[in-house]
């Protein structure tokens, strides 16, 4: 391949939209509307992505090599020929993992600070 693999750090921090899409594709490939539903379920209904936001992000993520279109159809029974399915690339999976670690670290810092402030107040 002509293009060198971009550094994972160059993608971080991810925008919430990109993070949600990567996360929704972490366990299986999905089509656009299934991604929207999964994002809504993951965020307990707090985030409802519109078609414009979704496909704008998908376009950028395809160009960046984070996801690819998949030829396989996981649900042949309910499959619609016109739907396009997307799945994570190795790069996408690494970026998702790095962002998850970054967020976990921040959550840990927040917990520690809360513990410290609780002790100080107590």
């Amino acid at each position: 391949m002509a293009n060198p693999t971009p550094s994972i750090d160059a993608f971080l921090p991810l925008t919430p939209t990109v993070f949600y899409i990567l996360l929704s594709l972490a366990d299986q490939e999905r089509h656009g509307y299934a991604i929207m539903q999964e994002v809504e379920a993951m965020t307990r209904g707090q985030t409802r992505m519109g078609p414009g936001t979704l496909y704008g992000a998908i376009k950028r993520m395809l160009a960046a090599g984070l996801i690819v279109e998949s030829d396989e159809r996981p649900d042949p029974e309910y499959d619609d020929e016109r739907r396009r399915y997307y799945r994570l690339t190795t790069l996408g999976r690494r970026v998702l993992s790095a962002e998850t670690q970054r967020l976990s670290h921040l959550v840990e810092v927040a917990r520690r600070k809360r513990r410290v402030s609780t002790v100080e107040m107590g």
């Binding site: 509307y33 519109g50 078609p51 936001t53 979704l54 496909y55 998908i58 950028r60 016109r82 396009r84």
Partner: protein, 202 residues
């Protein structure tokens, strides 16, 4: 109350959504338009199933917000993508068109120094010369920017730039740019010094 999707409402709202997709750049619409309509159809059915027809107002509120922000983002992205397609010749033409008023100013200044002298009166009470200089440079900047945008908006990678409709559109945009920025800049260069002389004497 029945929550069954009413097909005529779906058909009408889908047609409206299809029309609204014209807010996106043509290339993006060609690639993702059909998929977005399909996603809208799914959203519609899901909303009606879960919340009934009353949920459609909230759905459209979200859809319009989503459309406005993502269409602007796609246009900006399309402009960024098209920028490198502007050739050197097109750049030179845009620069020449924009700096025409400055060239005229320099030429007039050489013929008659009065055209320039009144611009640079160093007095806070007589700021008109400086305002005019700033105005000319602002118009020149806007002229270059609009000429460039005229090329970019009518360029499409992978398609012929010589298509008659594209040339007509480009010509119209450039004419608008000339009328809005270059012409006023030329008029300012020609008649500004006389006006400033009068203003400074008051």
């Amino acid at each position: 109350m029945s929550h069954a999707p009413r097909s005529w409402v779906l058909a009408a709202s889908e047609r409206t959504y299809r029309l609204l997709l014209f807010a996106y750049p043509p290339a993006y619409r060609g690639e993702y338009g059909q998929l977005m309509v399909q996603a809208y159809r799914d959203l519609y059915r899901d909303t009606v199933r879960r919340k009934g027809m009353a949920g459609l107002a909230a759905l459209w509120f979200c859809i319009l917000g989503d459309l406005a922000t993502s269409a602007i983002a796609q246009h900006l992205e399309a402009l960024r993508e098209r920028a490198p397609t502007m050739t050197k010749k097109e750049h030179v033409l845009a620069i020449i068109a924009a700096v025409l008023p400055l060239a005229l100013w320099a030429a007039l200044g050489l013929i008659n120094p009065r055209f320039v002298r009144h611009m640079f009166v160093r007095s806070p009470a007589q700021p008109w010369g400086w305002i005019m200089v700033a105005g000319v440079f602002l118009l020149v900047g806007l002229a270059y920017f609009s000429q460039r945008k005229a090329f970019e908006l009518t360029s499409q990678s992978g398609s012929s730039d010589q298509a008659p409709s594209r040339r007509i559109l480009r010509g119209t945009l450039r004419a608008i740019s000339v009328a809005l920025f270059i012409l006023p800049a030329i008029l300012l260069v020609l008649f500004g010094p006389a006006a400033i002389m009068v203003l400074n004497m008051e």
